[in-house]
Amino acid sequence: MKKYLGLTSGIGMFAGASIVLSASALAGAGDPAAVDWSKVPTTEIGLFWPGQSTYDYLISPRHKRADLQTREGEACVDCHKGEEKEIGNKLVVEGDLEPMPVEGKNGFINLKFQVAYDDNDAYFRFQWKTLNNYPGWAHPYYRYDGKAWKVYGYPKLDAVVQDGEQPGIYEDRMSMMIDDGKVENYAKQGCWITCHDGQRDNPDRPTTDEVKANALFKYLKKKDVRKYLPSTRTDGSSWDKGKTPEEIAKIKAAGGFLDLMQWRGHRSNPVGMSDDFYVLEYRNSDAGKNPFSSNFDKKAKHPKYMYDEKKFGKKFVRVEDIRKMETALVRERNAVPFDPNAGWKEGDLIPKYVISREDAKGSAADNNRSKGVWKDGVWTVVWARKLGLTNPDDKALKEGGVYTFGFAAHDDNITTRGHHVSFPVSIGFGAKADIEATKLN
C-alpha cells in the first residue's frame, strides 16, 4: 500500500489540477454543470448491443421478413419498439451476429438522458452504469519491454485480447449522432445506415492493400473502412463503390451528413472536452484539431512526451496504476518532451495519446464544455454545445428545430461496433418531438 502513497499524492495533485482546470474552463454562463438538472425531465433510453447487425445485414434476407421493409425505409421501432433489452441480450452472446463474444459483457444499458437549452447553448446530461467497478479512463499505452516501446492494451473485440495475448484496455465513451432531416432514412433507421460490412470488426473486412487500392480511399488517404452514408456509394451500400469526390462534396454542401461527437473518458474528458466528427463518405474529423493526437515519434521509435515528474509525481505509470487514477498525458499540464535516457525499466507505461485543450482548434474544438464524473459505478456526463454553429461540418442546433439523435455508449474497454446503441429519437428545442428540451431562463 505504501508503494502507492507517493503516487497517490501525485494523483491528488493531478486530480486537483484537473478539477480546477475543468471548473475554470466550464464555469460561468454556458457551464453544463451549473444547470439545475433537477428541474429537467429525465428520459430513459435503452442502449443495446448490436453485434454485427450492419446496414448490409438489415437489407439482406438474413434480416428475416424485414429486409424489403428496411430497404424501403421502414423505421426500426415500427417492429422493434420496446425490444432493446431482448435484442441486446440475444446478440451479446455468440451467434450469427456475434462471432467474437466478449466474456461477461452485458447486452443492455439503461441511459438516463436530460436535455435543456437557453438562448446560446444546448445542454445534455447522460448517466449510465458501467459494467466494471472502475471508470474507463485508461487507454492503450506504450510499454517499454526492456528494448523498445510497444503498444500495450487493446480493445476487447481484438483477437489479441480474446486470445489472452494482451489486456483489454480502452476508454469509455458517450457518443451522439445528429441529423437535421437532411440524411435520408436517418430519422427512421438511425446509426445503422452508417454501419456496414467491411468496416472494422464487421464482416467481409477488406485487406489494407485492398482499401488503399480503392479510388475513393486513395483520395481520402485512408487505409481502413469506417462509418459512411449509403448516399456516398453508387450502389447505396458497398464500401468500395464510392462516388467521386465532386459528387460527395455536393452531398456535403447540401447538408447530407451526420454530426458525430464523442465524449471520451481518456482522450477528451481530462481537458473538459468532447471531440467533433461528421459522417459522410467516411468518419471525418471536423476542420481544425481535436483534443488528442498520437504520442509516438515514428522516426525515433519512442513516445513524444512523458509525464512531468514534478507535476505528476513520476515519469511513467505501471499497469497496477491504470485503474486507480487518471493517467491522461496532457501536454500543457503534466507532460514534458520524452527523454530516452531517463532510465526506463521494463513495464513502464506512457499513454499512447497526448491530449491538449490548448492545441484543439477550429470546428473540431466546438465541444469544449463537457465533463464526466464517475462515482459509485455510474458515469455522469454533462455537455454543452453552442446553438447556431455555422461551420460547414456541423449540424446547427436552433430553437424551434427538431433533430434526430442516436446515442451510443462504449463501456468496458472496447471500441468500434462494441458499443451499446439506441434507436433514433427526435429531440425538439422548443418544438414537438419524442423528447422536448427544457428551456432555461
Binding site: S60, R65, D78, C79, H80, K81, E86
Partner: protein
C-alpha cells in the same frame, strides 16, 4: 314431349340416355369431386417433385423432411403439401394443375422472366420461378396462406411479431410481402417487388383504380 321421344328408335334413346347419364356424372364429378381429386390424388408432392426436384429446396429450412411446414396445429409432424401453398381454391385453379403438368403454360415463356430480359437483365430460372410465385401470391392477397392462417387468430409471441403484424394491417400489406423466404431455397427479392399502384388523392381516382380498390377490399 312423349311424341318427341317416339320419333327416335329404342337404340337411339338408349344412347341418349347413356350420354345424358354420362354428362350428368361428369357434371356431378366436376361440381363435387374434380377439385378434391385433383388436389389430393393428381397434384401430390411426388407429382410436383417429378420436375421440381428436391434440390430446389434448402435442406436447412422448412418443407423438407427435417423441418416441415406444419400443416395442422395439433400435429407438429404434419407437413403442408405443395398445393396447399401453390394451388388456390376453386375448380378453375385446379385446372392449372393439368396445364402445368403438360407444360402448356411454359410454351408461353413462363420459364423465362421476359419482363426482366426485356430490361436487359438475366434472371436465373430458379429466381424467376420464385418471383412469379411471389407475384401471384401478392396479386391474390396471399390467398393460399389465408386458407390456414386466419388473421384474427394469429397471435405472435414476440414483440416484433406483434408490432409487425399491426403495422402490416395498417399499411394493408399481405403475407408474402414479409414471409417470402420461408420455405424454399432462399432467393433474394428483386428491388421492384410488391409494387402497388400509386393512388393520388389530389385527383379523383379513375374507374380502373376504383375497380382495383374494390377488388382489393373484397379480397380482404
Amino acid at each position: 314431349m312423349k311424341n318427341f321421344f317416339q320419333r327416335f328408335s329404342l337404340q337411339s334413346r338408349i344412347i341418349f340416355a347413356i350420354a345424358g347419364a354420362g354428362i350428368l356424372i361428369i357434371g356431378v364429378f366436376f361440381a363435387v369431386a374434380y377439385e378434391p381429386v385433383t388436389r389430393n390424388f393428381v397434384a401430390q408432392d411426388a407429382t410436383c417433385n417429378y420436375c421440381h426436384l428436391p434440390w430446389e429446396f434448402n435442406p436447412d429450412v422448412r418443407l423438407t423432411a427435417t423441418k416441415p411446414h406444419q400443416a395442422k396445429p395439433d400435429q407438429p409432424q404434419s407437413q403442408a403439401k405443395c398445393v396447399d401453398c401453390h394451388l388456390p381454391e376453386g375448380r378453375l385453379n385446379a385446372t392449372f394443375v393439368y396445364t402445368h403438368i403438360v407444360s402448356f403454360t411454359d410454351l408461353f415463356g413462363k420459364f423465362r422472366d421476359l419482363e426482366a430480359e426485356r430490361a436487359g437483365d438475366w434472371i436465373p430460372p430458379r429466381a424467376a420461378t420464385a418471383y412469379r410465385v411471389r407475384d401471384r401470391l401478392f396479386e391474390t392477397d396471399s390467398g393460399t396462406c389465408r386458407t390456414c392462417h386466419i388473421e384474427d387468430e394469429i397471435k405472435p409471441k414476440r414483440t416484433r411479431g406483434i408490432n409487425a403484424h399491426k403495422l402490416a394491417l395498417e399499411k394493408k400489406q399481405t403475407c408474402i410481402e414479409c414471409h417470402y423466404n420461408e420455405v424454399h431455397r432462399p432467393v433474394d427479392q428483386r428491388k421492384a417487388a410488391f409494387q402497388r399502384p400509386i393512388i393520388s388523392f389530389e385527383q379523383p381516382p379513375s374507374a380502373e383504380m376504383k375497380l382495383l380498390q374494390f377488388v382489393q377490399e373484397v379480397r380482404r
